[in-house]
Structure formats: structure tokens, C-alpha cells
């Protein structure tokens, strides 16, 4: 079998896998619609302002309602030391 054919078979295998993942993604996206309706009810019913992803510090739990000074507020000379501070940018003002 010529190498180009072997390569195209390998490529087709990878692209088929991607196609299956894409189809599964579409199904998951449909399932997300019901989830989104529940999230909407919770967000507007409680007036939530932030996702509960990082609960370690108040400025990463609620970046939208804290200001850029919040990480340095605990005492004079305090530095920002929580790990999620490396992932989350301070909110723009």
C-alpha cells in the first residue's frame, strides 16, 4: 500500500473521530438549553452577579462586584496570593 494511502486512512480516522465529537457536541448543546432556562431562573430570581467557580477569595468569587483594590485590602502591604489570581484578570473599570 502506498504511503499516501496509509496517511489518508489515518487522516480519515482522525477526522471521523472529530466528526463523532462534533455530533456529540451538538447533542450536548441541545441539552444545554434546558440547563440555561434553570440558570436564567436562578440568576434573575436571586439577582446573582457572578459564577461560583473560584470560591477561595471574595474577589475571585465575585469579581464583578469587587474592585481592583480588593485583593490587596486585608492589611497594609498585603499582596495578592491566591492561585486563581493568576487565571482571573482584575475587572476593568
Amino acid at each position: 500500500m502506498r504511503p499516501a494511502l496509509v496517511f489518508s486512512l489515518l487522516l480519515s480516522l482522525l477526522l471521523t473521530l472529530d466528526g463523532v465529537l462534533f455530533a456529540d457536541g451538538l447533542v450536548r448543546r441541545k441539552g444545554e438549553d434546558a440547563t440555561l432556562a434553570r440558570l436564567e431562573a436562578a440568576t434573575s430570581g436571586l439577582g446573582l452577579t457572578d459564577p461560583a467557580v473560584a470560591t477561595e477569595a471574595r474577589y475571585t468569587r465575585h469579581p464583578a462586584v469587587s474592585d481592583a483594590m480588593a485583593p490587596f485590602m486585608d492589611h497594609p502591604g498585603a499582596i495578592e496570593h491566591f492561585p486563581t489570581g493568576t487565571f482571573w484578570l482584575p475587572p476593568p473599570r
Binding site: R2, P3, A4, V6, F7, L11, L14, L15, L17, D18, L21, F22, G25, R28, R29, E32, A34, T35, L36, A37, R38, L39, E40, A41, A42, T43, S44, G45, L46, G47, L48, T49, D50, P51, A52, V53, A54, T55, E56, A57, R58, T60, R61, P63, A64, V65, D67, M69, M73, F82, P83, T84, G85, T86, F87, W88, L89, P91, P92
Partner: protein, 398 residues
């Protein structure tokens, strides 16, 4: 003519593949390193994009205006009487007071978010039951009854019992009965929440009557949010006015490339690319010179050798791209981005179930290609040209 040209390119492709197979250990290591770099970049991009998308969808329902009182640069309790001072602003539909804050559980070392309000006053408050997995939202007259997020259920073992106690500031205990639990579907917003009535929250935090944490302002016409916010700022100068568009804007940038972790991913990608480019550009090995000389003696032209090198680069970078991006998608969707969780959630004890489904837009794929494959192809042009112009007799003489 066209089939002949196609046949020629197929033969060149065959040769390029055989050449890569001959140096399979080197080719495989380049492919794996390249795929790993693409995996890292694509995973970061998919996680941030999925989180940003989710936040922008959900935060379209956040309060239109949130008011917080500031003193000495810190947030403090806001007087309920401020509500009356807003009565004169035309266009305000309702003002809902809330008491909310954090509760640090010293036994479990976890931070809970406590929210106290009259949910019947909130828009869609009567629909809140649909966000629950079990139970009901307690009415304002039902004292001591709470609705909790899934991580609270787990942390406080509320599957087996339905009462728990929290300490007031004077260390006396306040007991709560669980009236319902939020669905796992809403985990990303309600994971660490304990929702109770305003009176219970006031009692738990010992906040004096007449003070609350913030005021949620709802307006009749969303187009007037900016105007009403300016009017509120003029009437209440010591108050921070946060509007819905500001909150949404925060989440458009909060998971950004400029963040430390983003920079590390980008630097890792750039460093790997520089190493690859250096390897490619740092001259030809004697074996490569020999091979090219033999090909030229056999009648190959410079353009044919350039085509071989081009195909080699396309195969390596294309395969690395497909493998890296597929692995990144599987990592984010099926393994909930477990490699990034330590950085994304840090020392958080309560961690939500993240159901991330990244949107595979053409723009995102092009961005990854622009950062990885395009520079690789560009970097291989000069070495390819150098290898293609080796004189036929240069490596054969001895």
C-alpha cells in the same frame, strides 16, 4: 496535464512520508511536542471561551443596577432609607434590598456565600422553584428555612439530615432547616449558596435594622440603565453604582490572555516554537545533504525538493494540529478541564461541576493555527530553501 501534476504531487507526498518514516523517532518527537503545545493553547482557549460564553448568557439576567455603599475604599452596609431617596427618579421599577456575605466554615475550611432576600420581590422570583432539584423556596414568613447549593449539601452532609447550624459573630448558634436544594445544572451559579430570608440573614450576621448589603435596582426600560445610573450617582455620591453592562463587560475580559496563566501558556508555546524553528534553521545534517545531492544527481529539481520539505512541514504541523485540538476538546468536555482545575479553582474547597461545551467557531480554530502552524511553516521556508539549493556534487565527493 492536471492528473499528471496530481500524480507527481502524490509521488512527492509518498516520498515525504517515507522520509518522515525513515526518521520516525525524530518526526514523532517533533509531532508530540508540537501537539502538546497546541493542546495547551487550545485547551486554555476553549475553557476561557466556554466560561465567557456561559457568563454572557447567564449574566444577561443579572440586576440592572446594583448599589453598594463605599467608605474608606471598602464596601459597607447601605441604609435602607436610601431607597426612599431613589423614589424621585422616574423609570425605576423596583428596588430590592439584599443582605449577603461570606461565611467561613472553620471545620471544613470552606467559604459559603449566604444570601438573604425576599425572593417574591425579585423578577422571576416565582420561577425560582424550577432551578431546584428538590424542595421549595421558603416564603419570607418561614423563618430558619434555607435553600442550599449542591456543594453545601455535600460539605454539610445534608443528604442524611436536614438541619445545620452556623455561628453568629458572638459565637451563638443559629439553626437552619433545609427547605430545598439547587439543581446540579445551576452549579456554576449556585454551588456555594445558602439562600434564606432577609430577617434570617440579618440575624446571622447581626446587621442592625435599617441596613442591608446592597440594593438591586430594576428599571422599566433597559435602554435607560446608563441614564438612571448617572442620576443615582448624582443623588447618592458615596454609593458605587454597578450596571448590568459593566458586569457583563467584566466577564468578557476576566479570563483573558493577559492573565498570568494565559501568559504561561503563550510563553510555553512560543518557547517550544523557537526551539523547533532553531532546530530547523540551524543547518543541514550530513545525511540530509547527502540525500539531497543524490536526489539532484537522479534528476530532481530544486522545486521538487522544496515541495518535499513543504509536504513534510504540512504533514507534521497538520497532524499535530488535529491531534492537539482533538485532545484539547476531549480534555475540556469529557474531563471537565481537569488539568486547569488547580489553577482555575485554586484553594477553593467547594468546587462546582463544570459542564463546559466550547463553541468550535472557525475564528477560534484560525487563532490556534495562526499561533502554531503558520509560524512553523514560515520557519521551515528558509531551511527548505537552503536544503534545496545544495549543489549536487557537494556531499558526494567525500
Amino acid at each position: 496535464m492536471a492528473p499528471r501534476n496530481l500524480e507527481k504531487q502524490l509521488n512527492i507526498l509518498d516520498y515525504a512520508l517515507s522520509s518522515l518514516w525513515r526518521r520516525r523517532m525524530k518526526s514523532l518527537s517533533v509531532l508530540l511536542v508540537f501537539a502538546a503545545v497546541i493542546f495547551l493553547l487550545a485547551s486554555f482557549q476553549m475553557v476561557t471561551q466556554a466560561l465567557t460564553d456561559k457568563a454572557s448568557q447567564v449574566l444577561a439576567y443579572t440586576p440592572e443596577i446594583t448599589l453598594q455603599k463605599m467608605s474608606a475604599g471598602r464596601q459597607e452596609a447601605i441604609p435602607l432609607a436610601y431607597r426612599d431617596r431613589l423614589a424621585g427618579i422616574f423609570g425605576i421599577r423596583r428596588v430590592v434590598p439584599r443582605i449577603w456575605g461570606y461565611y467561613f466554615d472553620e471545620v471544613r475550611l470552606a467559604n459559603y456565600t449566604v444570601m438573604g432576600m425576599d425572593v417574591r420581590e425579585m423578577p422571576e422570583g416565582d420561577r425560582l422553584d424550577t432551578a431546584l432539584a428538590k424542595g421549595t423556596i421558603p416564603g419570607p414568613e418561614e423563618q430558619g428555612r434555607v435553600v442550599v447549593g449542591q456543594s453545601i449539601v455535600k460539605a454539610l452532609n445534608l443528604d442524611e439530615r436536614n438541619t445545620f447550624s452556623l455561628f453568629r459573630p458572638d459565637l451563638s448558634l443559629k439553626t437552619f432547616t433545609v427547605s430545598g436544594a439547587f439543581s446540579r445544572d445551576t452549579d456554576i451559579m449556585t454551588n456555594d449558596l445558602i439562600v434564606m430570608s432577609l430577617a434570617d440573614a440579618r440575624d446571622l450576621y447581626e446587621i442592625p435594622a435599617g441596613l442591608v448589603t446592597d440594593l438591586c435596582v430594576y428599571v422599566a426600560n433597559p435602554k435607560e440603565i446608563g441614564t438612571i445610573a448617572r442620576k443615582i450617582s448624582a443623588i447618592l455620591p458615596g454609593v458605587r453604582v454597578l450596571t448590568r453592562p459593566q458586569i457583563q463587560k467584566t466577564y468578557q475580559v476576566v479570563f483573558g490572555w493577559r492573565s498570568g496563566f494565559g501568559s504561561i501558556c503563550l510563553l510555553a508555546a512560543l518557547a517550544s516554537f523557537v526551539i523547533l524553528a532553531w532546530d530547523k534553521a540551524s543547518g543541514l545534517s550530513p545525511e540530509e545533504r547527502r540525500e539531497i545531492s543524490i536526489l539532484k544527481v537522479l534528476g530532481w529539481e530544486t522545486s521538487d525538493i522544496l515541495a518535499v520539505r513543504f509536504w513534510e512541514s504540512v504533514i507534521v504541523s497538520g497532524l499535530a494540529c488535529i491531534v492537539g485540538m482533538t485532545a484539547a476538546y476531549i480534555h475540556v468536555v469529557y474531563f471537565a478541564a481537569f488539568l486547569f482545575r488547580p489553577v482555575l479553582m485554586g484553594w477553593s474547597v467547594l468546587r462546582p461541576d463544570l459542564h463546559l461545551v466550547p463553541r468550535m467557531a472557525v475564528g477560534n480554530i484560525l487563532l490556534i493555527l495562526a499561533f502554531t502552524v503558520v509560524p512553523y511553516l514560515a520557519a521551515t521556508v528558509i531551511p527548505a530553501w537552503r536544503s534545496a539549493t545544495v549543489p549536487a556534487d557537494s556531499a558526494l565527493g567525500g
